[in-house]
Structures are given as C-alpha cells and as structure tokens.
C-alpha cells in the first residue's frame, strides 16, 4: 500500500511542476528549459537550511520559494530582449549551471552525494514520515496550487499572458507591460516549482543532483505536451499518465537502471508521437466559452465614455520634426504633424512614404532619432508603448495583430484600461472586486461587439473570423482601450462596401464625441468621405496638409499620388 501512496505523492509533486511550468510555456508562450533547476533550488534551499542551520522546516521552505522566485526573475532577464531559440539556450545554460553548482559546491550541497537526513515535516504533532501521511499534505498543496494557478489563468492577468503569447506588439498596444508580465510569469512559475522541490526534500529526506537533471525538465515538458499546452487541467492529467504508466515497467523483471532508462526513452517517444498526431494534446486549450447570462442581460447600447474636458479642434497629439534612421535608411525625415480633437485626419502617400513609421514614432513603438512628441503639450517622447496607451493614445496595426488563439470577447476584454485583475495581488486578495469589474467589462465588451456587428461571434475563436470581421474586431479592441487619440493603420483597406458602410459611421462618431482620430488610407474616395483633414506624406515627411478637397485639387500632388 505504501508503494501505491508513494506513486500518488509523486503524482502530486509532478502535477505541481507541470501546472507551474505550463504557466510559462503554455500561457505566456515563453519557451524555457530550466524548470528542473527551479525544482532543485527549492529542494536544496530547504535541505541546507534545515540540516546545516537548523532553520524550522516551514521557514526554510518559504525562504526556498522566495529565493527561487528571485532566480526565476533573473532567468527572465534575457527573455526581455531575446525570444525563441535564444531563450532556450540561455535557460538550458541556467539548468546546467545549477546542477554544476550542486555537484561542485561540496561544502554547501554535499556534492554528488547530496544531502541526507533532512528532517520530516511535522504537522499537528505528527511526523509525516510515511507515504500515506505525506500524501495528505501533498494532495492538499497540489490542489491548492492547481486552483490558485487556475484562478490566475482565467483572470485578466492570465488573459494578458495569453495575449502576450499571441502577439507581443499588440499586447503593448493595449497597454500591457510585457516586461512585468514576463518577470512575474517566470518568478511565479519558478517559485511554485520550488514548493514541489521543498516538499520532495522533506518527503524522501534526501536530495541529490541526479533528481534534477535536464531529463526532469523534459519529463515535465512531456506532461504538458501530452495534457495540452495552455490547459492546466491537461497538465495534471499529463502528470498522472506519465507518473503512473512507467510503473508498469516495475512489473517486468528488469534491472533497476535499465527500467529508468526505458522509462526516459518512453517519455521521449511519447513526446514525438503526440506532436506528430495530436500536437494540441489530450485536452486542448479552450478558446470559446459560454457567456455569463447576467453580463448578456446587462449589455445595453454602446455609448462612448464622455471626455471630461475636450475642446473641439484643440491639438492633442503632436510630433515635431521627427527623424528616424535605421542604419543608412531614413524612414522619417522631419515629420511634423498635429492631430486635433474632434477631427479625423487622414494620412495618404505612396508606399514607403513614412505613414506607418509616423504611427510607430507617435505611439512609442519606435524611438525617434530626433524630434519631440507631445500629448496636450506634455512631452511623451521617450515613453514606452504601454505607458503611451495609458496616457490615452492607442493604435491599430496594418497587419491587424489579433490575438488569434483567444476568443473574440477576450480580444476586446484584454484591452480595457485599469483592470484590477491585471495586478496579481488583486486576483488573489480582492477576488470580489476583480470579478465584479470583470462582469461589468464583459457587458461593456458585448456592447462594443454589438456596436461593430460582432456580438454573435463573441464566444468564438478569433482565428475563425472572416477578413472583414477581423478588421471590425481590431476596431472593437481599439475602442475598448478608451483612448482619446486613436491611430488606425489602414482600417478600411480591403473591405467590401457593406463593411465599409458599417465602419465609416463609427469613425465619424468617434470624432463627433471628441476623439482625435488619425487613419492611414489609400482610397481617395474614402478620405474625402470620412476625413476633415488630410496630410500627404512622401519621402519620410509631411509635404502638405489641408482639407481633403483642397488637397485633391492640387494637380501636382495628385500626379505624385496617382503614380
């Protein structure tokens, strides 16, 4: 019976590892390979503190968790600048280094022999020295962690993580701080792995480097892939299967070493087979969901939030003498532009004229080589994109950059400003406030979707929309930011007349209610119809600015543009 309990304890520990690893891999989309290292730091910290320094068990475990979270945050530093393969190699190196330290720092870690005689956990006067008694604790902790991480996954914070996974630029364009998201995701995931590590140390009363090799990271990865990346329940199932299945090997008459090797080879084989035939895993991440009925009922007709103090025609966002060079290429050559409240400004000009560059500069996605950007007279030149969104300037992208593997509703929800649930401490300590705001936001998001004509698509995956619907969703997402200055990069191109007839009034209505609107457009008819002011750009600067009719009377300009 003890054997059976032991297997279940191991399942609990791996369930913790798999769910926490899934936060980084599945939710945040950051491919790191250092989870076993975090597991190790947690285990060794408590082992060292309790055996060598006599620190009480729970204090030592807590220190281990905090320390590991800090190391996790450090490991995230390269991830702030590099992605993909580079992150893989850096985290792999971290994994190697940690094992190296465990092997080599003999005095501290006991070297290859590890540390033995780690005290058992004593709870309510009872020492948890048998698998049966430890199982109770392990199961409670694993369950608590599962629900805690699940709460995170469905919270606005988790939604922001998934949005970052889908598109890092777009998530900044709706005001999220990707640096903070990455650091928190890494630290949280590492700290949780450390809980599993410290449990292990006190469970078997012994730690050694062999338990935390790269194979361990790959094993946990296999659990996630089998269960379903991005699905925490899937990770638990994956852990269950991969802990239990190899136990069958025990019933074959194999030497101990061979059984371990065969088990590892089996994990590898399973990874390959799953990726080949069911890459989404047994429990694929779910993108659709049923809408809460009360939110559906609460949704009324969409009204723009009235602006506190707006003065029609006042300059809001302005760029002065903006230059941008990439190596030898001049993308902006002294752009001067002023956008005014209540007016729709159109940017026209040939490809490569610098229209999108102007947007990138004005919204912080590019830092100008020289020049200044002001919002209502205050300089915002060096602000990062998410801060500029917080100041009330939002933009869309020519290639849309939707969060494809998320629901249509989530695409809108993620863009609301000032969400309590974007802060992790609110998710856990003010769940009521977060839930209340979330209900209100869902109702508001449904209003916005109704307004652009996507209400019936709300619970579907964004990837399944038609092109016109995608463009409408981009506008919906932009509306959700509540920004007073809206920059739209080719919102109308490629739209059929019906959709166009739906979008144009939206643009006009935004302006009528005091928003500053600027859009890039090629179609002169549309410019004439929707814009109050048109600016003609060429060669990285604004050549002319004026009323569209006047601009189009200029034969020289027309000549250049029609070219």
């Amino acid at each position: 019976m003890d054997y059976f309990y032991h297997v279940l304890v191991m399942f609990c520990l791996y369930a913790i590892l798999a769910t926490s690893f899934n936060v980084v891999i599945g939710l945040a989309g950051l491919f790191a390979l250092s989870h076993a290292a975090f597991y190790a730091i947690g285990a060794y910290t408590t082992a060292i503190l309790t055996t060598a320094y006599g620190v009480p068990v729970f204090v030592a475990m807590a220190i281990g968790v905090v320390l590991t979270a800090a190391v996790g945050a450090v490991a995230a530093l390269p991830a702030l600048r590099v992605g993909g393969h580079y992150l893989v190699v850096v985290t792999l190196a971290l994994q190697v280094i940690v094992i190296d330290i465990l092997r080599n720092a003999q005095g501290l870690t006991g070297g290859p022999d590890g540390i033995s005689g780690i005290p058992r956990i004593v709870l309510f006067g009872q020492s948890l020295s048998t698998p049966g008694s430890f199982l109770v604790l392990a199961a409670i902790v694993a369950t608590a962690i599962y629900f805690a991480l699940r709460l995170l996954a469905v919270s606005p914070f988790g939604r922001a993580l998934r949005a970052m996974r889908e598109n890092e630029l777009a998530v900044q364009s709706v005001g999220k701080n990707v640096v903070a998201l990455k650091l928190i995701a890494f630290a949280l995931s590492a700290g949780t792995a450390a809980i599993a590590g410290s449990l292990l140390a006190h469970y078997i009363a012994f730690v050694s480097p062999q338990s935390f090799s790269i194979d361990e990271t790959i094993l946990v990865l296999a659990m996630i892939i089998l269960g379903g990346t991005g699905n925490l329940f899937g990770a638990v199932v994956g852990a269950f299967i991969l802990v239990l299945l190899p136990e069958i090997l025990k019933f074959l008459d194999l030497p101990v070493g061979t059984a371990d090797l065969m088990r590892n080879a089996f994990y590898g084989l399973m990874l390959i087979v799953i990726l080949r035939f069911r890459p989404e895993g047994l429990f694929p991440e779910r993108y659709r969901y049923t809408l809460p009925a009360e939110a559906e009922q609460a949704a009324g007709a969409f009204q723009l939030t009235p602006l506190a103090n707006f003065e029609n025609g006042a300059v809001t966002l302005a760029g002065e003498n903006l230059h941008k060079n990439f190596g030898g290429i001049v993308a902006a050559n002294g752009i001067d532009i002023e956008l005014r409240a209540g007016l729709v400004t159109g940017l026209i000009g040939p490809n490569g004229a610098g229209k999108t560059t102007a947007f990138n500069l004005l919204t912080g996605f590019l830092t100008p080589t020289s020049g200044t950007i002001t919002l209502r007279g205050r300089p915002i030149t060096d602000r990062r994109p998410h801060r500029i969104v917080h100041s009330g300037v939002a933009r869309s992208f020519q290639d849309l950059k939707l969060f494809r593997r998320m629901s249509v509703l989530d695409n809108v929800l993620v863009a609301f400003p000032n969400q309590f649930g974007d802060k992790l401490h609110n998710v856990y300590f003010r769940p009521g406030a977060v839930a209340a705001q979330e209900r209100a936001n869902i109702a508001r998001a449904l209003e916005i979707l109704e307004f652009v004509g996507l209400r019936e698509r709300a619970s579907q995956e964004a990837d399944g929309l038609s092109y016109a619907e995608e463009k409408l969703l981009v506008i919906a997402r932009l509306l959700a930011t509540e920004a007073e200055v809206l920059l739209l990069d080719e919102p109308l191109s490629g739209l059929d007349p019906n959709t166009l007839a739906r979008v144009l009034p939206i643009v006009r209505r935004l302006a009528a209610q005091g928003r500053t609107v600027c859009l890039i457009e090629h179609n002169l008819d549309v410019i004439r119809e929707v814009c109050d002011v048109a600016a003609y750009l060429d060669g990285g600067r604004v050549l002319t600015i004026g009323r569209p009719e006047e601009l189009m009377k200029d034969p020289q300009l027309l000549e250049r543009y029609i070219q």
Binding site: P350, N351, G352, Q398, D463, G464, S466, Y467, E470, E490, S493, G494, L495, D496, H522, N523, L524, D525, L558, E559, I562, Q563
Partner: protein, 238 residues
C-alpha cells in the same frame, strides 16, 4: 507584337490563407509579348496571385495554364526549368552574398555554367552598376541597385515569362523610370513576356500593353491601358 498567342491562362483561380480567401475566382490571359500590368491597392491580393501562379502557394480552386499545359501548383523548381522566372517584392536578393554570386544563383539550375558568360554580359549592359559592384555584398548596395540585381537574377535564365512584383517599390522617381525602361528593353531584346504588379500607375501604365485592376481578390477592370488614360476613370477603379 502581332502574334498574340496566349502564353499564360488563369481560369477561375482562388487562393486562401487559412480560412481567408485572398483571391476569388479570378481569370486572365497573358499573351506572348505582352507587358501585362496588374494594379490595385494594398491587400487586393496581387502578390498572392503572383505567388500562386509561380507555385509558391497552392491555389484552392482554378487552373493555371502555360503554353496550353496545366501547371497549377507546379513547384517553382519546375517552373524555372520551363522558362518562368519570378522577382518577388522588395529587394529580393541574397544579401550576404556578392553580386556575382547572386547572379550565378539565378542560373542555379543550369548545369553547364560556361554558357552564362554572355548572359552576365547582357545583364551588365542593361544594368552597368552590377558589373561595377561585382564583388560587393548585395545587402550593402542601395535599394535601387538591389532591385536591379533582383531583376538581373531572374534574367540569368533568359526567361520566356518574367513575373515582377512591384519592381518600383521604394525607389526614387528617376530610378523608377530606369527600371521601367529596362523592362521595355528586356521585352524587346529577349522577347520575354512580362506579367507585372505595380502601384506606380503613372510610370508603369505607359509601358503596359494590357491592364487589370484588382480589388479584394477580384477583377474590377480588365482591358487595354488606354481605357484608363482618363484620370477620373482610373481613380474610380483604384
């Protein structure tokens, strides 16, 4: 050009990216000796159409015929062997290789490299800058020079059909004229048929023998360039 024999025939071609249809049921015929000009806004589906003709994308429906033979979905490798060359958009060169290496790669499928010397000479005559920059890394040249090299790469096979995707994009006005002139020369000296996508209407329309305007994956105008000479008509289609 009196022959007017159909060289490339597209019938009911549709192309999709995932669930999104980019080109819808599109038909056109390019005749031997044509400079066939395709106009349209960003996102109209022009590039997608060219790439699916050349076999870089698989169409979801419809036929592509070349010389009467069905070449729908045929690989670029086989198209190149059959005299079809493609110059994609935006400085399509091997940036970390030299100009000469770039040109030689244009004739990658030619086994006997000794026949290439006269072709390189002809290309150098068309774009003299390429012989001056023979051993320079392509990526270090200006945009205009890279564009000439990109066309040069395609000419290494003396193609029968040359497909160009916005050859003038990002070029200064005088260079645009130079590129358009070179296209006329290519057609004259090599007898190459040209299928070209352009946004620079002003400079490309005068050299075209046939025109099509696309909007959201469909044809909105198909006919002689003269039909577009009136500015108002043109604006209406664009």
């Amino acid at each position: 050009m009196t022959a007017r024999i159909p060289l490339l025939e597209i019938e009911g071609l549709s192309v999709s990216y995932g669930k999104r249809q980019i080109v819808s049921d599109l038909s056109l015929t390019v005749r031997e000796g044509d400079i066939f000009l395709m106009l349209g806004h960003n996102g109209a589906g022009k590039t997608t159409l060219l790439r699916s003709i050349f076999g870089l994308l698989k169409p979801s429906a419809g036929r592509v015929r070349y010389h009467g033979a069905d070449i729908t979905g045929r690989s670029p490798k086989d198209n190149v062997r059959d005299g079809i060359c493609f110059v994609p958009q935006g400085h399509a060169v091997f940036k970390r290789l030299t100009v000469h290496e770039n040109l030689m790669l244009g004739a990658f499928i030619v086994e006997d490299k000794s026949i290439l010397a006269p072709r390189i000479e002809a290309i150098n005559e068309l774009f003299p800058i390429l012989s001056e920059r023979r051993d320079q890394m392509a990526g270090t040249m200006s945009g205009g020079q890279q564009q000439m090299l990109a066309i040069g790469i395609a000419l290494m096979l003396a193609p029968r059909l040359l497909i160009l995707d916005e050859p003038s994009i990002g070029l200064a006005p005088n260079l645009v004229i130079a590129v358009m002139e070179s296209i006329v020369k290519i057609r004259q000296s090599l007898g190459t048929t040209i299928l070209m996508v352009e946004q620079n209407v002003e400079k490309s329309l005068p050299i075209a023998t046939d025109t099509m305007i696309m909007r959201t994956g469909r044809t909105v105008y198909l006919g002689l360039p003269e039909g577009l000479s009136d500015r108002a008509t043109l604006i209406q289609y664009l």
